[in-house]
């Protein structure tokens, strides 16, 4: 497989205000190196606050690392599966599809061409010309998912977005996602679900406190990760099975 992206000792820090004229640096990502291969689905696992989402933002080009390098070995587009991005409550579903699509980088004529598919996928044909502030949470989520599914980057970055809306739609959206992931598309998937990671990923990078703890085959990484988590929880007196 061809290597398309390489993170070399990447670190990202945030500046927090700490009193009068003073700031404190906090490193969300300390030292992360890994490669991304064309066509693979790479899983990122780790506890909350480990830095997984920040790494996705670096790969998407949203933020620039404060240390280390991001080397692109090929020309590609990478973006987050961003749901409901740019949605305005007072506008109609139709207007929001165009707005969100353009924010996601799609040309307007492309959105026009795929508009009917988007609305049909979201199952909102009846209410597409009503303002989305009249939609339920689930309806908005469906529309958001349907739009972002159409923005088709070369590298898709997914952050726990599996399953949106009500039960029936969750299955449909999860299937659509999985179909994308299983195709030849390059995907980086952040998930807390063992079954998704095991089923979808070719390789897993385990992030712990902003550093790569280990990387390798999904099953082996999950076992190691769960084992470590179990030890931690037992040490802190919590129920390890919780």
């Amino acid at each position: 497989m061809e290597r398309i992206l390489e993170l070399q000792n990447v670190g990202v820090c945030y500046r927090n205000r700490a009193g009068f004229l003073r700031t404190r640096l906090s490193w969300a990502v300390r030292d992360v190196s890994f490669d991304l291969m064309a066509g693979e689905t790479l899983g990122l696992i780790g506890s909350n606050g480990a830095g997984k989402s920040t790494i996705l933002r670096v790969i998407a080009g949203i933020i620039q690392p404060d240390k280390g390098r991001v080397v692109r070995h090929a020309d590609f587009t990478a973006s987050l599966l961003a749901l409901q991005v740019g949605f305005v409550p007072y506008l109609t579903g139709r207007e929001n599809v165009f707005l969100s699509g353009i924010v996601l980088g799609m040309p307007k004529r492309e959105i026009t061409r795929r508009f009917d598919d988007i609305v049909a996928f979201a199952e909102l044909e009846e209410v597409i010309d009503n303002p989305i502030r009249t939609y339920s949470v689930g309806m908005k989520a469906r529309l958001g998912f349907a739009v972002s599914l159409q923005a088709d980057p070369d590298v898709l970055l997914v952050d726990e977005a599996m399953g949106v809306g009500d039960a029936a739609f969750r299955e449909k959206s999860t299937n659509a996602m999985r179909e994308k992931i299983r195709s030849n598309k390059t995907v980086v998937l952040v998930s807390h679900s063992d079954s998704s990671i095991r089923e979808l990923c070719n390789r897993v990078v385990w992030i712990d406190h902003g550093q790569v703890a280990d990387q390798g085959a999904p099953v082996r990484m999950l076992d190691k990760y769960r084992e470590r988590m179990g030890v931690r929880k037992a040490a802190s007196g919590e129920d390890a099975t919780a």
Binding site: G86, P89, L104, G105, P107
Partner: protein
């Protein structure tokens, strides 16, 4: 990478969405774009024409020329300081050139200004004391210069304030100071010579004087000082654009919602 045409589509679609959203929020809807500037002008008309009896004949058109153009400038620049914060959620989910956000603001406020300007011109046409003259032809050039000035300052303010949020408070008060020093209520020539020297560096005063010369006094504006405004605006614009280029992928980290 995003194409330029996508960026242009983005700017105009977001501007349209903001105007639409603003219109749908209120009962009167888009009528507010017309009602609001009329009310704004009516307030000053009532106070100065029938209330204070101040300034003599022609004071109201004189005042409105200053107020309408000042409002375009001040409301855009003031909103520029918070424009990245308002859009923090979007910029943390998707990469887009951040300079788009102040540009959307400029487009939205320019649209609103064009409605207000339309009413101002209508008022001037209907007012029997005024006549349309050839000097009105200077108007498009003056609007273009003011647009350039507003865009350059708004972009620069939007670029700097996320790094030093305290500047927002300073800016609001500075705009108030400028409001009184832009010759909206007084004639530039009535000021002391020393003050006139200082005020020559106020681009909005120069522009307001130029609008009045063209619209009210049938005179050609003084183009030389306005050329200096154009030059300074271009420099500021380059500075702002360079900052946005340099910190484009830093802003999503530092902007607070």
């Amino acid at each position: 990478m995003r194409t330029l045409s996508n960026c242009v589509e983005l700017i105009f679609h977001k501007a349209y969405a903001e105007l639409r959203a603003e219109a749908t929020r209120a009962y009167l809807g888009f009528l507010w774009w017309f009602v609001e500037p009329i009310l704004y002008m009516a307030v000053f008309y009532v106070i100065f024409e029938s209330g204070l009896k101040r300034g003599g004949a022609g004071f109201v058109p004189f005042l409105l020329c200053g107020l309408v153009t000042w409002k375009w400038f001040a409301s855009t620049v003031a909103a520029g300081s918070g424009v990245l914060g308002v859009n923090a959620a979007v910029m943390q989910q998707v990469y887009l050139p951040k300079v788009v956000f102040p540009l959307v603001l400029v487009v939205v406020n320019t649209f609103k200004f064009s409605v207000a300007l339309g009413f101002l011109l209508l008022f001037l046409v209907l007012d029997p004391r005024n006549t349309i003259t050839a000097s009105w032809l200077a108007l498009p050039a003056l609007i273009a210069i003011q647009l350039l000035l507003i865009a350059s300052i708004t972009i620069l303010v939007a670029a700097i304030v996320p790094f030093v949020p305290d500047l927002k408070l300073l800016l609001d008060n500075f705009l108030m100071l400028m409001f009184f020093l832009s010759g909206i209520f007084f004639r530039f020539q009535e000021m002391s010579a020393g003050m006139q020297q200082v005020l020559h560096f106020n681009p909005m005063l120069l522009l307001i004087e130029a609008y009045r010369a063209a619209l009210l006094d049938d005179k050609s504006p003084h183009w030389m000082p306005l050329l200096a405004v154009v030059g300074a605006s271009i420099l500021l614009l380059i500075g702002g654009m360079l900052m946005f280029r340099k910190y484009d992928r830093i802003y999503p980290k530092i902007v607070i919602r």
